[in-house]
Amino acid sequence: MTAGPLSGGGRVMGALYRGADSDLAYSFRRNPVVVTAAIVTLLYFFGAAFADWIAPHTPFDPSTLSLGDAEKPPAWIEGGEWRYLLGTDNQGRDIFSTILYGSRLSLIVGFSAVIFSVVLGVGLGVTSGYFGGWYESTVMRAADVQLTLPSILVALMVDGVARAIFAGTDIKTDATFAIYVLIFAIGISAWPQYARVVRSATLVEKSKDYVAAARVIGIPSWRIMLRHVLPNTMGPVLVIGTIDLALAIITEATLSFLGVGIPPTQPSLGTLIRVGQEFLFSGQWWITLFPALALVLLVLAVNLLGDWLRDALNPKLR
């Protein structure tokens, strides 16, 4: 069968073609800062995804570590070696490699947390906007209450409660478990903004006649929400999601820095900064500075992308 109008393949190609030709792509190409931010972000994704191949060392395999290489400064400083580009920490782990693995963890937690809060927030937002009534009031008041608390506080609370619950059980409180708790804690702290935005967009879309047309022919509510309303509310979600990714990475780093995040055995960027800052005043500044710079660069790049997306998708600024 040829790539008919209703087949999937042709449609994807068409979307790609239109995408490359769109206002968004034009505005992207015109903006060198954004292009740079996108390249930096992609480099992070690439480095995180292929850390196993790119990283010159395997910092979390104790058998490859040697304490003789501990606390080496970056390569360009007296006493540094090119084997350890950004120096080593107190256990002889290569800082560059730990940053690669750390970014991977930070990105995984950040992405998963955003996806979690998007699914939760969008789901609650579109249903409460569509159905209304006491269900809507309950969801939206819950969102209001949660918005009065700083999100880092919510994450801290959820994190603490989860640890307390699982502390006595058989479930091992290892690094993997900590990741799930973090994703849940950060994700749950961010859903209200998605719920609010999607609810208000749903209220607008619901009153339009294409929804009425679908109702007249008896399309079920869940299908109207999924196929008609949801795609028309996704623009703002994309923008908030991008900005939220930077925020989630920061929150994860903060929690890890405070010691309630990811344990040092398999550190994220935040954990690296916390572990490193103990050596700051004894002169080994590189142990904490480079992970911190890596975090700043990543968050900055993602934020720049988010800001651009917000402006580019805002019809009032065109």
Partner: protein
């Protein structure tokens, strides 16, 4: 006419409760009630066009939406071909397939993220009319051609079309389920006059071709004159006059109908002063006592202010009017001809 009418509406009404702030509700204030439609009865036979005209806010669109099942009526009954469909659970797939709706705003009535092909295919898929994807595509092509578009237009998105073309797409979607009854909610109000004529002619041609029945909602008397077999004039949630189109334009009975017809520009009255239309439509939240039209009616007397007139058969020829003055025959004779030759 012994034949059962395709659409029968009896005493249909919908009242909306206006929201009251929590504080006031706690103090025992009752919510205000908006009687958007307040007891409307009519029937449409197969292949006939009934138009509902009235000023904006009189509830004419609400009538169409009630019949479409978009609102739940407060009271009354809607039957399609003898099947009671007042309750949502009675709207079976087989019944839903037989009625569709065309909306006013061609911008909002098509999902901007869907291709035209998918928009038109939605009813076909929902009712399982075509066997497979290939047959669906073939039917969509056919529908597009039927409304004067090309099959290739199916690949486009709604924003790539003009208002008139979009309304053609709406019509194609409405035809997709092979319905008997189409509820047209001001289908041409958002269009240029030149395009209006094209769309109206298309709708008439389709009616002749497919034997469609239209409930046609409009505020534009010229459009209504072009389209209708019968006309119902609506004022503040009620019908004030129902008559055959020709009779209504030739000899309008109700003072409100006369007032509406006066507003039509007409070559015959060049140079003559036109009577100014006094007042506006009162708020349906707080309607006038008695006949809702009495504050604007030049013939209103004490009875009109206190007693609400019922829709009654006035003359021979199937004209029904809700007016005390007509009943008591204290109205001057209908203005001769006037705008009738539209």
């Amino acid at each position: 006419m012994a034949e059962m009418p395709l659409l029968q509406v009896e005493n249909l009404a919908v009242h909306f409760c206006l929201p009251v702030p929590v504080a006031e509700r706690a103090m025992g204030r009752k919510p205000k009630v908006l009687k958007a439609v307040d007891g409307v009865s009519f029937a449409i036979g197969k292949g006939v066009t009934l138009s509902v005209v009235g000023e904006s806010g009189c509830g004419k669109s609400t009538v169409a939406r009630l019949i479409a099942g978009l609102y739940r009526p407060t009271r009354g009954r809607v039957a399609i071909d003898g099947h009671d469909v007042t309750a949502a659970k009675d709207r079976t797939r087989a019944i839903r397939r037989r009625l569709t709706m065309i909306f006013q705003d061609p911008q909002a009535s098509l999902n901007p993220r869907w291709r035209v092909r998918d928009i038109i295919a939605e009813p076909i898929k929902a009712f399982g009319i075509a066997g497979d994807a290939r047959e669906t595509g073939r039917q969509v092509d056919g529908l597009l051609e039927q409304v004067g578009l090309a099959g290739a237009d199916g690949e486009k998105f709604p924003h790539e079309f003009s208002g008139g073309q979009r309304q053609r797409i709406s019509i194609a979607r409405a035809l997709a389920s092979k319905p008997d009854l189409i509820l047209c909610d001001e289908p041409t109000s958002a269009l240029d006059v030149s395009v209006q004529a094209q769309i109206l002619n298309l709708m008439r041609d389709l009616q002749d071709e497919l034997g469609l029945t239209y409930l046609f909602i409009s505020h534009d008397l010229a459009v209504v004159n072009h389209m209708s077999d019968r006309i119902a004039v609506m004022y503040l949630g009620r019908f004030v006059e129902v008559a055959d189109a020709a009779a209504l334009f030739a000899a309008p009975q109700h003072p409100y109908t006369r007032l509406l017809l006066e507003t039509i520009p007409d070559l015959g009255m060049t140079g003559r002063d036109r009577e100014a239309v006094a007042g506006e439509v009162p708020s349906p939240i707080d309607p006038p006592s008695g006949c809702a039209f009495h504050p604007r009616c030049p013939y209103a007397d004490k009875r009109c202010r206190t007693e609400r007139p019922e829709l009654r058969e006035a003359h021979s020829g199937g004209v029904a009017v809700a007016c005390h003055a007509v009943e008591e025959e204290r109205l001057p004779p209908a203005p001769a001809g006037g705008a009738a030759d539209g």
